[in-house]
Symmetry: C2
Subunit: 134 residues, 2 copies
DNA sequence: CGACATCGTTATGTCTTATAGCAATCGTGG
DNA sequence: CCACGATTGCTATAAGACATAACGATGTCG
């Protein structure tokens, strides 16, 4: 079947993203987490005390939609009141342990990812993507 | 805010894909089409007489989910019975006209896309993406 | 102090996608 | 030539992600 679509970088981009996302989702499923979960955990880990709103802004997740995410992460996250309105988020011991597992999965996955792209293109991928994104 | 995520190629890939997809969706909205619509139209254009099932396989769209897509494209597509079970799809005159508009939008968009990536990385993007996808 | 922004949250609607099932038809191996 | 497994188009439905609007409470700044 003739398919002119793969010649469009934008199309290839979307397909590649979908394919790899599905792949990662599968592997993360084995540790009981989703990609968004891991993103949130990593951000909290790197910024202890951040608010849910701030994380949402960073990840382009609506404030309202952070609620079910955090609910799903119950037990992995501690909420520390900052003032009467905001609450800081931190990883619990369980959260740190779980993140360590997830990190292993992600890093294995990412390594496999770049390994898949031919050596001569490898170094160009990340810079090219960042240029597109921002 | 510290954010380790953009260092992961897989993450950058997903963000770039989302950002560009949203952008394209906006511009295609001006001609009243969605990305999936245009993909389908292009495939039909390149393969007159294809079945809906075949298109679905090519685009990873479930057979069942092709129904609303084709319904949305009513008037742009003609259905030509192949046998008692299958029907071939072709672009109508209106469909060809509409696809021409869409194609202009897409090509403008794609040109702007690659223009955005620094020259030294430009040629590597598509091959790298294809390697990831397949 | 007062106007305005922000926080966390609930509720709700929409859109996309997956799943299962159906009747009709096709193609192929025996 | 025909019975059986595969395929087609389709309906119905469920699940999931996501956006929007609104709320009370609180913080911030002129």
């Amino acid at each position: 079947m003739r398919d002119p679509l793969p010649n469009f970088p934008g199309y290839a981009l979307r397909r590649a993203a979908n394919a790899t996302a599905a792949e990662l989702a599968g592997k993360l499923g084995e540790v009981g987490l989703r990609q968004s979960d891991v993103s949130v955990l990593m951000l909290i880990d790197a910024n202890p005390g951040v608010t849910a709103s701030a994380i949402g802004r960073q990840l382009d997740i609506q404030r309202a939609n952070m609620v079910p995410v955090l609910k799903r992460l119950e037990g992995l996250i501690d909420r520390v009141p900052i003032d009467g309105k905001s609450q800081g988020l931190e990883l619990s011991a369980a959260g740190r342990a779980r993140l360590a597992e997830a990190r292993k999965v992600v890093e294995t996955f990412e390594a496999a990812l770049i390994a898949r792209v031919p050596a001569e293109h490898r170094a160009h991928l990340l810079p090219a993507l960042e240029a597109l994104w921002r």
